[in-house]
């Protein structure tokens, strides 16, 4: 049962617009969970339903949001997962800060000393992120190493690289422009949140309205048939990993601006959170079925559950327990729903 754009449907959610009300209900159950969570949160905290709080939440979701968008591309095209994203995020942040502190190598640490102007630094970091993704893709398609193993190795390697280039320490202070990327506001909207929304819209457009996107879905659904219909699956696999690496670099740049430090330890295990967000949203782990809209809902569900649990005064450790149960429950419920439809 294709759930993606191939069957048509609402543009952003990717859910097929057909069938009875009951059908519609089960297909969009993740929206239901979202509404329930918002209601609980609103009743617990009076300030919850304000525009300002919503925008703040959006900002806090967006860092994980970027890598979840990239992860969706990888999972959709049947690449199983990209475990290296969190390491790429940390590495990008460190390089971003490092290139603004070039003097670190000759003994100055606290003053900004740009190796070249900030826009070029950003381009460098984005290119590095995309480059690591490209290496992932090439190893997977050309050397036929599975995506899991390749990105696992890359995850360990790039994290080590992030520590190595920063000397294991934290690089303090970035320039105003970088800080703006993480903390700035465009009118009332936080810049990161805006960038995330733009990314989602652009990503959905690419996935649903371009030949590239349709071929990516086709590759994920069945690489063999995709190949027989004239699609080179390798191209789309590589592209998915490049997109994933690129978005991890975007998240790394913004997070460095937000934290005002280049820190190799950030985002530990975020790759697993991103995978959880994609899966909770309902994108199939087998590839070819799902959408970006679903991932966005998944990211929001994860963020809101944490928010609600904190509002309820639940300690971090039981919060973790609940997140684990939510993840398993989400896949079980989706499974039961998809079986009842057959």
């Amino acid at each position: 049962m294709a759930d993606g754009s191939t069957t048509g449907g609402t543009w952003l959610s990717g859910a097929p617009a057909r069938g009875s009300a009951a059908d519609l209900l089960v297909q969009n159950s993740h929206y239901g969970i979202l509404v329930v969570l918002v209601t609980i949160a609103a009743s617990l905290a009076p300030g919850f339903l304000t525009v300002q709080n919503f925008l703040n939440l959006l900002r806090s979701f967006s860092f994980l949001g970027f890598i979840s968008v990239g992860m969706t591309f990888v999972i959709l095209c049947g690449g199983i997962v990209d475990l290296s994203v969190a390491s790429i995020l940390a590495f990008s942040g460190v390089v971003m800060a490092l290139l603004q502190h070039w003097g670190i190598y000759i003994g100055f640490t606290n003053e900004l000393s740009h190796v070249y102007p900030t826009p070029f630094i950003i381009l460098t970091v984005l290119a590095l992120g995309a480059g690591i993704g490209l290496v992932n893709g090439l190893i997977i398609t050309k050397l036929k190493v599975t995506g899991f193993v390749t990105t696992l190795g890359m995850m360990v390697f790039v994290r080590g690289l992030a520590f190595a280039v920063s000397g294991g320490g934290t690089i303090f202070g970035v320039d105003d422009f970088t800080r703006y990327l993480g903390r700035g506001m465009v009118g009332p909207i936080p810049f990161v949140a805006l960038l995330w929304i733009v990314t989602i819209v652009a990503g959905s457009f690419v996935l649903n309205r371009t030949p590239f996107g349709r071929r990516l879905y086709a590759t994920g659904e069945n690489p063999e048939t995709a190949f027989l219909s004239g699609i080179n699956p390798d191209t789309y696999r590589i592209a998915a990993y490049v997109i994933s690496g690129f978005l991890a670099a975007v998240a790394g740049i913004c997070l460095t601006g937000r934290l005002d430090v280049g820190e190799p330890r950030v985002a530990q295990a975020w790759e697993l959170n991103a995978i959880a967000a994609v899966v909770i949203g309902g994108t199939s782990f087998d590839g070819g079925r799902g959408s970006l809209g679903r991932t966005v809902v998944g990211v929001m569900i994860i963020g809101l559950i944490r928010n609600v649990l904190s509002l309820l005064g639940v300690l971090p450790s039981p919060q973790e327990m609940i997140m684990g149960i939510v993840l398993i429950a989400a896949v079980v419920v989706q499974h039961v729903i998809s079986r009842s439809k057959v």
Binding site: I139, F148, V156, F157, S317, I322, V332
Partner: protein, 338 residues
């Protein structure tokens, strides 16, 4: 002639790599082959080595178990909680009081408290295996959820604080020795030998390979896949629980935060050892060599005084390179078979 050569490479390539690495290590550091260092090396790798045994059986059936690291932490704190039975009647107001509680008040007599921990590990594995088999959901997702859940469960007991004090027989698991060989190494060897025997020479083991290789074909030849899909997760859970007990001994405390990321270390060793993630192909001998290869690389870099970060980079490259190399050899072999 050439075909025979690739056949030889496929069969003994990994062993050759190990021998070459030992030789290079000896050249790089005169300390490498000292008895003290060899004993240290083996003891260090035996913990991940035992986890990797369970992981191998899971991966042979085409699954993966991400929850093992969390099970290690959970078992450790579960055991410590059972050793401090008075916690159940007397709850300290402040968490730091836990730290002072050295006197042990076991809930159950000796064999039972070990038994409970191992059964808890088995149960976690059983739930993972049963869920992923019966619902046909990839075990990556189920065990990812289980990993987060079990870690949270372990940390909830004491709010993430370690609980100090373990009985002598648990210290023996980590620091003791049998005939001069450290207990962890003995345990590791025994588990590897038993598991390798079961996988190779029993009907159960052969069927694990069959189900992992092609479930449909196995089903058509009359094998019920349920048993062979679910039990490896139980084995993996028990192995992880045992390592949790050993870690408690090593640290003289139950600590729910230990062994984070060990699942990835174990998976790395398994794939370096030539077991395919798709299932059905691989062996415990390979895994053991994989564990040793990673252990030697880390050990030599430590001896040479290389910092932690380059070590990580080498480890990452090692995983990719090992699998890429195996694929190339396999492809080369196939081309010459024709």
């Amino acid at each position: 002639m050439r075909f025979e050569r690739t056949g030889f490479l496929k069969r003994y390539g990994l062993l050759l790599v190990l021998i070459v690495m030992v030789c290079v290590s000896v050249l790089l550091s005169p300390l490498f082959l000292t008895p003290q260092n060899v004993v240290n090396l083996l003891t260090q790798v035996s913990f991940v080595g035992i986890i990797a045994v369970g992981m191998t059986t899971v991966i042979l059936t085409g699954g993966i178990d991400l929850s093992v690291g969390s099970i290690v932490g959970f078992s450790s704190i579960l055991f410590a909680t059972m050793m401090h039975g008075n916690l159940f009647t007397f709850m300290p107001d402040e968490m730091f009081i836990y730290a002072g509680m050295q006197d042990l008040t076991p809930l159950l007599p000796l064999p039972f408290n070990l038994f409970v921990v191992l059964v808890a590990g088995a149960l976690i594995g059983l739930v993972s295996g049963a869920l992923s088999f019966s619902l046909k959901i990839h075990s990556f997702i189920i065990t990812l959820g289980m990993m987060i859940f079990v870690r949270g469960l372990g940390r909830s007991y004491t709010d993430g604080q370690p609980l100090f004090g373990v009985p002598p027989y648990i210290s023996w698991l980590a620091y003791g020795s049998i005939l001069g060989v450290p207990t962890p190494v003995v345990l590791w060897i025994v588990i590897v030998v038993v598991a390798a025997f079961v996988l190779k020479y029993t009907r159960y083991g052969r069927r694990i390979y069959a189900v992992g290789g092609d479930e449909e074909a196995a089903r058509l030849s009359g094998i019920q896949p349920a048993l062979y899909r679910i039990t490896p997760f139980v084995v993996s859970g028990v192995c992880a629980a045992l390592v949790g007990l050993m870690m408690s001994g090593r640290m003289a405390a139950g600590d729910p935060k230990i062994a984070e990321g060990w699942e990835l270390d174990a998976i790395g060793a398994v794939v370096i050892g030539g077991t395919a993630l798709q299932g059905g192909k691989g062996s415990l001998v390979g895994t053991t060599i994989g564990v040793l290869i990673v252990g030697i690389v880390v050990n030599v870099m430590n001896l040479l005084g290389i910092a932690d970060y380059p070590q990580q980079m080498v480890k990452g490259m090692l995983i990719i390179a090992a699998v890429a190399l195996q694929n190339l050899i396999a492809r080369f072999g196939r081309e010459h078979e024709r």
